[in-house]
């Protein structure tokens, strides 16, 4: 069951096509990574989902039907370009934004109290936003994004501006929201956090969706048949054992346990590698090397641009 689907979204601005036939399907309860280089069209897609602007073609389905204006109360959006009223007091401001999200004043007050306690920021209520540090303001911003407990959350670069401790705090909050059943769309350039959090991804490049799927499938698909073997014994023996039929990528002898990275020919099966090594050394571990999202990102984007004669 998909909470959100877009079908063939197209959006044109005066002199360029911001989105070209973009379709994505976000399963209910998943964390969905929206990746892509700067200017690829991610923010435009997010704005269309948030109904800030409309598509020229295509449609957005929310909960199985065409999205309607009132759905914004079921969506929480943390924009990349975010800010607060500097001269307004924190509490008043949080209250204002909570009410804009459809909460009654009393309900907003009640929920804000819980969040202020959770983040241990009760003392900030009467402070002006301009007195807060950037990280503190980001916490408020996060809070007002999730205060109405939306089913769909859209985070655009949620970790920018946070120190590692607060980034972890937000990461935990995101996982907690997922555990409670929320669906999360998450746009970032931080590929490590994509691997850590996302279930599904879509890579948008030059206005087009060029890669979609479950993150494990994507990574496996881009696996290049490289295995890493750590072993006890003489590294030279291992080297000799791999002399025929294997491509030695890297031999690391620095640690107590040496490691070797080997690329298999596409027709070779991985047992052959073990069979070749077993007579010479004691194998301690044997793992396929799964490519990191970072490498996939760069490879996919560069290949696409080369194939279409585009600049990076």
């Amino acid at each position: 069951m998909n909470l959100l689907e877009t079908h063939g979204i197209e959006k044109r601005y005066a002199n360029h096509l911001a989105l070209d036939d973009v379709s994505i399907s976000v399963p209910k309860g998943s964390i969905y990574g929206l990746l892509g280089p700067n200017g690829a069209g991610k923010t435009t897609l997010i704005r269309i989902i948030n109904q800030i602007t409309g598509p020229d073609k295509g449609e957005v389905l929310f909960d199985g039907r065409k999205i309607v204006p009132n759905d914004i109360f079921r969506i929480g959006y943390l924009p990349e370009e975010r800010g607060l009223y500097k001269k307004m007091k924190v509490g008043e401001q949080a209250l204002f934004f909570s009410q804009l999200k459809g909460l009654s004043r009393a309900e907003a007050l009640k929920r804000l109290k819980v969040w202020f306690e959770k983040f241990e920021i009760q003392a900030w209520w009467d402070k002006k936003v301009e007195e807060l540090s950037k990280g503190m303001a980001q916490k408020i911003q996060f809070m007002i994004t999730v205060i109405h407990e939306p089913e769909l959350l859209i985070f655009d670069e949620p970790f920018s501006g946070f120190d590692p401790i607060n980034a972890q705090l937000i990461k935990d909050e995101i996982l907690e929201l997922k555990r409670k059943g929320a669906t999360i769309i998450f746009s970032t350039h931080n590929m490590a956090s994509v691997e850590e959090l996302c279930d599904q991804i879509t890579l948008i490049n030059k206005s087009k969706n060029i890669l979609s799927g479950h993150i494990d499938t994507v990574r496996a698909n881009y696996g290049s048949n490289i295995f890493e073997v750590s072993f006890r014994g003489n590294p030279d023996d291992a080297k000799n054992a791999l002399n025929n039929g294997f491509e030695l990528i890297q031999l690391n002898t620095e640690g107590a346990i040496p490691k070797v990275q080997v690329k298999l020919q596409s027709e070779t099966d991985s047992n052959k590698l073990l069979q070749a090594l077993l007579p010479s050394v004691e194998v301690v571990s044997f793992n396929p090397v799964v490519p990191h999202m970072n490498d996939i990102f760069i490879k996919v984007v560069q290949d696409y641009n080369k194939a279409h004669g585009l600049k990076n």
Binding site: G54, I72, I75, P79, R82, G83, L100
Partner: protein, 449 residues
């Protein structure tokens, strides 16, 4: 609606808590009241000042011809040469010295010269001129040897006063006062102009601030940009109406306290003085002045004229034209604010908006003299200038069909402009990194929502 209310409320509360707003709202009435009271107050100071005028009559024909009044004391120095007094005016305690020399031609008027250290005040001059005019006129008349001349002169003495009454179609008569009507027209249209310009600029700054703060994207993810803009300009309109209300209440309060303090003393003193000046003269100018002063300062006449203004129509008209005009211009200012990222970029873009405002004021100033002339008429129909020019015409009375035409054109224009402004606003607030021109902003209107 709920979102518009929330935006409106936030805008209103933040604005009225600003120090600058509180100060201008509370202190301006002091200034306004001072403008009302000061002339009376100053006049009350002036008249208590007794001035001594020395007269050296070298002809010998005008001995004791000029009478002293309460505030102008005339001293005839028969044996003192003029030169001696002239250089010691202050030491001798004289305000001025009048020297009367005979003309070379015996038929001509005597040569009068007034020496003073400061520029002599108008009432002194008028007193001297008017009395001597009268004296010489009487003498000339006497040369015709008419019997009972004094009696005839007494009989022909005339002082007409025009009482202005407005007559409505069904024959009702009302006391009117041109000065009151003009004053009201000025105040209404200047208030409108000031508020639109000041508050419009503030709305523009507010939009720019939200945009450069990046708070705008957070808001538009929960509120349609149109509602956000409408909420903002309505909030600002409420702020302005509150300010005007406080101004009117405080100014009227302060001015009536002030007038009670000075008015009795002043008006009577002023009256006496002017009457003395005009005593025994037919000088039309002076008579007119006296009348005008009487009209202005006779509290009953003034109040009657004020009360006889059609206040329900004027207040209703003011609120309608103020709101429509304010929102019309505010929407345009908001649209400009959305297209830039700093206030310094707005100058060129605001010119097309301020131009009709400035034009309205120019038309208003000339139109106030002929409120039914073609200039005032056309500009009170054209929607962009009508909020100000129609307010100028309103106290003078405007035919219903003109009012209806102007109002409906304004309402139609209002909806069109707000629609266009909202389209520009919606696109502009999310555009960064460039200063946009009107040409580009017009293109945004065609963008799909």
């Amino acid at each position: 609606m709920k979102e518009i209310m929330l935006i409106l409320q936030r805008e209103f509360m933040t604005r009225i808590r600003k120090k600058a707003f509180i100060i201008t709202t509370l202190l301006s009435p002091l200034f306004f009241a001072a403008v009302v009271i000061l002339p009376s107050y100053l006049a009350s100071l002036d008249v208590t000042d007794v001035r001594k005028i020395a007269v050296v009559d070298n002809t010998g024909n005008f001995t004791n011809a000029i009478p002293s009044t309460e505030y102008i004391k005339i001293a005839y120095l028969n044996d003192t040469p003029a030169e001696k007094v002239k250089n010691n005016l202050e030491e001798a305690g004289y305000y001025a010295l009048l020297v009367i020399d005979s003309a070379q031609n015996s038929q001509a008027n005597p040569l009068l010269t007034l020496y003073s250290q400061k520029q002599p005040s108008i009432d002194v001059l008028q007193h001297i001129e008017n009395t001597l005019d009268k004296v010489i006129e009487t003498r000339k008349l006497k040369e015709y040897n008419i019997d009972n001349l004094d009696k005839i002169l007494e009989n022909v003495k005339t002082d007409v006063q025009v009482r202005t009454m407005n007559v409505s179609k069904n024959g009702e008569e009302k006391e009117s006062n041109t000065l009151v009507t003009m004053g009201l027209a000025y105040i209404l249209s200047f208030l409108m102009y000031m508020m639109v310009l000041i508050m419009g600029t503030q709305i523009m700054q507010g939009v720019i601030e939200e945009k450069s703060n990046r708070v705008v994207e957070v808001i538009v993810s929960s509120v349609k940009p149109f509602k956000m803009m409408v909420g903002k300009i309505l909030g600002m309109a409420s702020v302005s109406l509150l300010q005007i209300f406080v101004w009117v209440v405080l100014t009227v309060g302060l001015a009536s306290v002030g007038i009670n303090l000075f008015m009795d003393k002043t008006s009577t003193a002023q009256m006496e003085q002017l009457q003395q000046v005009s005593q025994g003269t037919d000088n039309a100018q002076v008579a007119q002045q006296v009348e005008a002063t009487q009209q202005m300062s006779d509290p009953n006449n003034f109040l009657a004229a004020l009360q006889n203004q059609n206040f329900p129509l004027i207040i209703g008209g003011f609120i309608f034209y103020f709101l429509m005009g304010f929102l019309l211009y505010a929407a345009m200012f908001a649209a400009v604010g959305s297209a830039v990222e700093s206030v310094t970029d707005t100058q060129q873009l605001t010119l097309p908006i301020t131009l009709p405002l400035i034009l309205s004021i120019i038309v208003m100033i000339s139109g106030i003299k002929s409120p039914d002339g073609p200039l005032a008429f056309w500009f009170s129909i054209i929607p962009f200038t009508s909020p100000i020019v129609m307010l100028t015409r309103l106290p003078f009375g405007v035919p219903t069909w003109q009012l209806a035409l102007s109002a409906s054109l304004l309402v139609i224009t209002f909806f069109i402009i707000v629609w266009i402004a909202a389209k520009i606003y919606r696109v502009g607030i999310l555009m960064y990194g460039k200063k946009y021109t009107w040409k580009e902003m017009i293109k945004w209107i065609s963008y799909k929502g």
